[in-house]
């Protein structure tokens, strides 16, 4: 996928993912402060607009950086900062890259996940977005082509999301709830899963 397609794919996925804003708001209301729906809606809108204004000939890495910047400032929050940092980290794996294939995508997601885990001082099992992003990155990496890799990533993310329900939140606002967090589904992990689904709905995964 080259820059023009990539931009289009991102924009279409984001128009898709905002349909889950209410679900994310409700989950974050239960475990946190309820702003995740707004973060996703405003963040998606800001990214779509920022990509519109990108000069012709922007590289995939530049595209990712533009996404990061727009998402970071739309609705400042944990998710905005962590995702933006993850996108910046991912973009570094795309140096001198013109065509995003499944391997590049896997590298990107892995780097983003590592960055989030490191910045968030988070491990898998802490009931955060990291729980969903890590297995998704692995599935992408193991994928034979774009379509099957994406399918596997979505399945892995979904499983991780469901698994967060029985976990106790160890990071962020949700950790304040202590035992009361058990039984509730992590909003950040859910957002990652919904984003992967939206990527599939929005585009032609084979184009990776």
């Amino acid at each position: 996928m080259h820059s023009t397609e990539l931009i289009e794919q991102i924009q279409r996925s984001l128009k898709e993912v905002v349909k889950h804003a209410d679900e994310l708001r409700d989950l974050d209301q239960a475990l946190g402060d309820g702003d995740l729906g707004i973060t996703i809606t405003l963040g998606a809108g800001a990214v779509i607009e920022a990509l519109e204004e990108l000069p012709d000939g922007a590289t995939p890495a530049e595209i990712a950086r533009a996404c990061a910047k727009a998402f970071a400032n739309a609705n400042p929050s944990t998710m905005a900062a962590l995702v933006a940092g993850g996108l910046l980290a991912g973009s570094k794996t795309w140096k001198d890259l013109d065509d995003v294939d499944i391997a590049a995508a896997a590298r990107f997601v892995k780097a983003a996940g590592d960055n989030i885990a490191q910045r968030g001082k988070t491990q898998i099992g802490d009931k955060t977005i990291v729980d969903a992003i890590m297995p998704a990155a692995e599935a992408l990496d193991a994928g034979e082509d774009g379509a099957s890799g994406l399918d596997a990533a979505i399945a892995a993310a979904e499983k991780a999301v469901v698994d967060t329900r029985s976990l106790r939140s160890r990071r962020g606002r949700a950790a304040w709830l202590q035992e009361r967090s058990i039984g509730l589904q992590d909003p950040g992990a859910t957002a990652m899963w919904r984003f992967l689904e939206s990527w599939r709905t929005a585009g032609v995964p084979a184009r990776f």
């Binding site: 702003d35 970071a72 400032n73 400042p76 929050s77 944990t78 905005a80 990071r171 606002r173 304040w176």
Partner: protein, 333 residues
């Protein structure tokens, strides 16, 4: 919703506008973004800048501690939410006098991630930054995990000390070390009696039956270590002081700074009733009080409750606390 506000979404910007209109000689917006405030004389060439930031709803925290001998600038988020990394970065640029910038703020996820991103941005523009986190809430984590504690009212001491160090011309490393030394020796614990009302939703920030108290509460209503029937002022104060004395391992002959902080709705009278007991309790252990602060220093909108902070003093720390400082909200003369 018992609030004197206009549109909830305008609350933060209108409040900042009021602050600038009231104190134009002391504070300014360095650029177009109203959410960034800096000292009127920023940047001060050759001196270390100090940037703080965090959610709104805690006045005088955080904006109140921007001034002479205090922080140089602040990035301001919505009520109880983080400012953006871009705002933290803009504040950084606006206060950088060439000697680097210290990030000094309370340990909360959203704030940390945004300031960390800002540090990355600053690095790209060759502005050196260091970070020290307020981590004084002993109820939020046991002592072995004290790097993970939340930052609450006791961060005042770190502002005061770092600001004094920067003002006297310390290097970035020295200012950061002074702040870190204070944080390492500060302990706070709070009690909540009633929740706050979030302006945007009208929802209560947490839920606490009438006649109950939450000991160890955080400044957004984070749960603490004990919930039970409301006790007397003396019993509450004893609980808090005992925990703080143990945490700081205070012993006969030690000296401390005391901060009795109101969360918003609790009358100043009650804070003095508590101070009285703090004094009795510390004195009876042979711990002397070298400096005291009683009032509203870090609030949570109209939450009823209070916190007590202790800072273990030595000559250096006391000198930094006693150095002159001046903001519209805090004065040391």
């Amino acid at each position: 919703m018992k609030k004197i506000i206009n549109k909830p979404e305008d609350f933060v910007n209108e409040m900042i506008e009021g602050i600038i209109l009231a104190h134009p000689d002391k504070l300014k917006n360095p650029g177009d973004d109203p959410r960034i405030l800096v000292r009127a004389d920023a940047p001060v060439a050759g001196k270390v800048g100090i940037v703080t930031g965090g959610g709104s709803g805690h006045l005088p925290l955080f904006k109140g501690y921007v001034g002479q001998g205090l922080c140089s600038g602040v990035a301001i988020g919505n009520v109880f939410s983080s400012p953006s990394s871009q705002q933290c970065f803009e504040a950084t640029k606006a206060v950088d006098g060439g000697a680097g910038v210290l990030y000094l703020y309370g340990n909360y996820g959203g704030d940390v991630f945004n300031f960390d991103l800002a540090a990355d941005l600053a690095e790209l523009e060759d502005i050196e930054t260091m970070t020290v986190l307020g981590r004084d809430d002993v109820a939020s984590q046991p002592k072995e995990n004290r790097q993970e504690r939340r930052g609450v009212a006791g961060t005042l001491f770190a502002y005061k000390a770092a600001g004094a160090a920067a003002e006297r011309g310390d290097t970035l490393e020295e200012v950061a070390a002074a702040a870190e030394d204070i944080v390492e020796n500060t302990a706070t614990m709070g009690i909540g009696l009633s929740p706050t009302i979030l302006p945007t939703t009208g929802a209560l920030s947490f839920d606490l039956p009438d006649g109950e108290m939450e000991i160890g509460i955080g400044i957004h209503g984070e749960p603490g270590i004990h919930r039970g029937p409301l006790e007397t002022a003396d019993a509450i104060t004893d609980r808090l002081v005992d925990a703080l004395v143990a945490d700081l391992e205070l012993a006969d002959g030690d000296s401390v700074a005391v901060l009795v902080n109101g969360m918003g709705a609790t009358p100043l009278e009650e804070l003095y009733v508590m101070y009285r007991r703090v004094h009795q309790s510390l004195t009876s252990r042979g711990v002397s009080i070298g400096k005291n602060y009683v009032g509203e220093y870090a609030t949570s909108l109209e939450m009823a409750g209070a916190s007590i902070s202790l800072l273990k003093l030595n000559d250096d720390r006391l000198a930094l606390l006693e150095a002159p400082a001046s903001s519209p909200f805090f004065q040391e003369v």
